[in-house]
């Protein structure tokens, strides 16, 4: 089993092609496997599937989902976010955040729509409302 270790440094195109960039219905997708790990900042035009271990900052134009069993210490900014694994960090979601039954999220949330399934664990502050396209913090 090859363990891919990617350090993305704000180079969405190049890193994405090396790490399972796949096109589905015309949308680019960055897919990590259960043995993959990523440390750094990822800015990606498309959707991201996080598995294995991730650490850093993820800014995604599309959807981001964290697989069950995945451990992510990341700040997230995406259109829709689905968490089934473990996430530690702030989450900014332009539309909807879904926490699955096995999800564990520790961090502050800014979201428009929120769905938390029974069994999910959440610790943090939740703020609902319209999200500005460009964060004030930069």
């Amino acid at each position: 089993m090859d363990v891919q270790e990617a350090v993305a440094e704000s180079t969405p195109g190049a890193s994405a092609e090396d790490n399972g960039d796949a096109k589905r219905d015309g949308q680019r997708k960055f897919t990590m496997g259960p043995n993959d790990s990523l440390e750094g900042k990822l800015v990606f035009d498309g959707s991201v599937h996080v598995d294995g271990r991730a650490e850093g900052e993820f800014k995604v134009t599309g959807n981001l989902d964290v697989a069950q069993g995945a451990t992510a210490r990341i700040s997230i900014e995406a259109a829709n976010v689905t968490v089934k694994g473990q996430v530690e960090g702030s989450v900014t979601v332009r539309d909807k955040l879904t926490l699955g039954k096995n999800a564990r999220l520790s961090g502050d949330i800014v979201v428009r729509r929120l769905q938390i399934d029974d069994g999910a664990s959440l610790n943090g502050h939740v703020r609902m409302g319209d999200i500005e396209q460009h964060g004030s913090g930069g």
Partner: protein
């Protein structure tokens, strides 16, 4: 009058008798109901009306059907915010369900926080001996600054000593 048999049936007539048999109360606040203040109940609560204040429930809380709660909520079992429910306040619950369409803003605390205090105590004990060696190291160093403090006043006399020397030479 054998009251044991009929008394068991008179649950609606004696709501205050809840809890003695382990049975818990189940309260429903309808769409036209409104509660302002603090509520503690041993049982479940369903809110379809308006609540302004704190809720503490040993069982579950369900906010739905246009129910609006403004204030902190503590539920030892489960809190459900339905798709037409609204909750503005901090939440301390064991389980949390938020359905799509619900409105919720506040701080969420889930799980046990009992393990945290002992760790903090251990860190304090570890920190105390760590400070003592530093103080012990500082002590000999403190003697040096004390000696170092002397030269500055000595430098002033040093400047003042030259004039006497010059004075001596002049004389």
């Amino acid at each position: 009058m054998s009251s044991t048999g009929p008394a068991a049936r008179n649950r609606t007539a004696a709501p205050a008798g809840n809890g003695s048999d382990g049975a818990h109360s189940s309260i429903v606040l309808g769409p036209r109901d409104r509660l302002v203040g603090q509520l503690y109940i041993e049982g479940d609560l369903r809110v379809a009306g308006t609540v302004e204040g704190g809720l503490e429930v040993t069982g579950s809380v369900e906010i739905d059907d246009g129910g609006r709660v403004t204030g902190p909520v503590t539920a030892r079992d489960r809190l459900v915010v339905g798709r037409s429910g609204s909750l503005m306040g901090d939440v301390h619950v064991a389980r949390l369900v938020v359905q799509d369409g619900a409105t919720f803003s506040g701080k969420v605390s889930m799980g046990k926080q009992v393990e945290a205090p002992p760790k903090a105590v251990e860190q304090v004990h570890e920190a105390e001996p760590a400070i003592k060696p530093i103080e012990a190291v500082k002590a000999p160093e403190a003697a040096k600054p004390a000696a170092a403090i002397k030269p500055p006043p000595a430098s002033r006399p040093g400047q003042s000593t030259r004039p006497p020397e010059t004075k001596g030479k002049r004389r």
